[in-house]
Symmetry: C2
Subunit: 237 residues, 2 copies
Amino acid sequence: MAAYRLQKRCDEEAVFVVEGPKMASEAMASGFVIKVVCATAEWLSDYADSMVAEETFEVSPAELERLSNFKTANQIWMLLERNRECRKWNAESGLTLALDKIQDPGNMGTMLRTADWFGVRHVVCSRDTVSCYNPKVVRSTMGAIFRTKVEYVDLPRWLANCNMPVFGASLQGKSIVGRDAASLNEAVLLIGNESRGISEEAMAQVTDPVLIPNIGGTAESLNAAVAAGILMNWMTK
Amino acid sequence: MAAYRLQKRCDEEAVFVVEGPKMASEAMASGFVIKVVCATAEWLSDYADSMVAEETFEVSPAELERLSNFKTANQIWMLLERNRECRKWNAESGLTLALDKIQDPGNMGTMLRTADWFGVRHVVCSRDTVSCYNPKVVRSTMGAIFRTKVEYVDLPRWLANCNMPVFGASLQGKSIVGRDAASLNEAVLLIGNESRGISEEAMAQVTDPVLIPNIGGTAESLNAAVAAGILMNWMTK
């Protein structure tokens, strides 16, 4: 099972790893197919009856440490199938989130978590955006990975063909503050790379450049996940 | 110099470490006293003339790796004095950010960066909040550490005596959406711990419980730094 610490192996088999009791409970409630469970006696005594998995192994804490992607293993390691038509993909919001070359797993997971909060169920990513199945991404989604449809596409082409207004953060943009969300019902919010922003090819598809006013006047930029959160709040309220 | 990898040593001497060319440039522009610079020949050839430091050492990349708090060292390591009356502490915004038991360095740094963006220059923290001089915090502030007054206090007592309305996120709160920022000119925004939220003692001092509407209805919570960003946006616009 330790081979699944390699992202390549997980990609080849179209599976992903979930760790810890909190994420395991989310996984069990999600309807995703659970292929393998490796868990301590303690976790199994609480959850074995409520769990459906193709294979289950009781492991020692030391064995679990060897499997884990994190410094500290936490009772349960699960291997899930990636592909599932999720019932909850019917969006509450008409907003689609588009991510252009996001690199940091924490930012990626946090953006999926925020999208989940605002009812944004569809996330479209450039092919060089970090995998949503990266273990650090999965952990920081806090369960949103089970409720969000994430696609990896040729992003500039997708944006060109989406037939929706594309909002993108730009220093030349118009302030988002006070914008009426009702007018933004079917739209795309495009977020760029942490240090370089939106790429030139994607920016060419932005129809509505927007900005979050820099009131302090001293900071160069906002963190990508914070900016995405503020913009999603304006575009879904 | 490697002893300064220990937070305790930095605390005792009231100093902090800054790494990498970007943060070094911010430090040089900040007016903070630079005690020691350890840098590669490459960095020194570009910046030695524009820099004022009490001691400067040219080091090899291997020596720099041994000093660094990060996996990859980056040209320059600096030791700065903590205490400085910062000219920029005159707040553009009447908002004060209060942090109750924030643990994650990335969240802490991101909140200081966001405060800087919104002109919030005063941050008050419970004593058990992560140190703003933690190297990971410093790095994720992206320079805001040089423009923000951060204090560690008995937070419930500070809130009780601050003579300002205290806004705190609560599921029993009133939606922040549509709130008029003008009425929030002199106020405190209180953000709680990543997993447990605002502590009971601090919550007792909240005069205006607020919430960010959970439009999706499936996520349990927002990331603390994202929630802080959305609330600061409403309270400073």
